[in-house]
Symmetry: C2
């Protein structure tokens, strides 16, 4: 039976990156692409509970069925698996995100939110990102990498509760290789710029830069990306700390 591939993203159905992703998957199975109708960057695993959703089917693209949903990336995965697909997909592939989802960005990313949601359904899931926000970024070096990783995961599967956060460096003619890494320690040094609207009422807009707290460690995603490698970070859906008993000083019983 042909593989059933569910594709989504957070940059919306109009983004260049998801079209490139659909094209690079077309030889691997039947592709269903269900994306938010509006950009949903930074939406993490946000889920629509208080509003209705609408789904619209669009024209097929390179053999893939294309849909847009007035919701979040997680909504797209849920409504696809629950209502739209003929059966549970064999794999969920999200992206290709315009911009890095390395390090701490993984927790805010809507593209990774969709991959985590695939993981919650017990489906092997991968999020792909290219470290450029340019709409005209060159995705062509990504094709063979996406195809290779998706093919391997379709063959071997992934453990329950673990999905992959794949980042690819932009402006690199040829990647130096593919490395399995860990999320780099770092933080956003951010602030809100303050403006006044025409009625002299203040409003605020988020700005900031990422601070790498371990720039010399070669086993991090940031190091790999800075050095021309594709980075794969395996990530867990369940955030439970591995040794809860370390916190037994908080328990209390008569």
């Amino acid at each position: 039976m042909k593989k059933l591939i569910l594709v989504s993203n957070d940059d919306s159905i109009e983004a260049h990156g998801v079209h490139e992703l659909v094209k690079s998957l077309q030889t691997l199975g039947d592709v269903f692409c269900i994306c938010p109708e509006q950009p949903q960057s930074g939406m993490s695993m946000a889920l629509t509970v208080n509003n209705p959703l609408r789904v619209k089917r669009l024209e097929d693209y390179h053999g893939a069925q294309m849909y847009k949903v007035n919701g979040t990336p997680v909504d797209c995965i849920k409504i696809a698996v629950d209502n739209l697909l003929p059966r549970k997909p064999d794999i969920v592939v999200t992206g290709i995100n315009h911009g890095s989802n390395a390090a701490i960005n993984v927790v805010y990313s809507g593209t990774m939110g969709a991959a985590f949601e695939g993981c919650a359904y017990g489906v092997p899931s991968i999020g792909f990102s290219l470290t450029s926000h340019r709409e005209d970024a060159d995705f062509s070096p990504c094709y063979p990498v996406v195809e290779k990783i998706v093919r391997k995961v379709l063959e071997k599967g992934l453990p329950q509760g673990v999905c992959l956060n794949v980042n690819m460096p932009a402006n690199v003619k040829e990647f130096k290789g593919i490395r399995v890494t860990r999320g780099c320690k770092g933080r956003w040094d951010d602030h809100y710029e303050e403006y006044l609207d025409p009625a002299r009422r203040p409003f605020y807009w988020l700005a900031g830069t990422f601070v790498n707290e371990e720039p010399d460690n070669e086993d991090t995603d940031e190091w790999c990306l800075s050095n021309g490698f594709v980075s794969i970070v395996p990530v867990k859906l369940d955030p439970t700390y591995p040794r809860p008993s370390d916190f037994n000083w908080l328990s209390e019983e008569d």
Copy 2:
């Protein structure tokens, strides 16, 4: 120096639970309460990047400064720490959520999103939830538990990158104790109910029930809650799988 306590939630500034939380913290330090102006349940770590934020100061409540923001729980923490507070807070406390954030709910919860964001700033952070969605739920048994846990964490701190997901069972006169547990394995068995609007166009609304996949395991949050105990699950912000090298079959280098 008095402790500086930052409070937020996802049920909005109007929710009963956050007012109860502010009251139970008032003897522990100076409380700043910054909440979304609209309900933000299920918003996870969603972050507003494409729109401006507005902040409005409201009347003080039991000695606490009160603010509302037209954004997500994560936005509230960010703008509080970056722009509103006199200094970095000593602790971030979120909730009390109306409804359980045990098991898989932790990843969708906006209340836990705000706690994770506090954690990203390196501040000890705790999210509290009561397992009842009723607006008139009885929060009075929560007071001593909240005070005790917050006091202990103010004293001992938490390791970098780890925060606490505290759930309290509703409709219990007296809790049996406080236990440190782990997130229960389980999933939402969900579906979208289909409706037709007056113009005969379909729309969809999420419905579902939680399926506990290990109901007999006494070390889970779900078991504790079903048996009258308060559950504390320590949770990690960084989702990196602990042994990335297990996935070296995905790496490739010349």
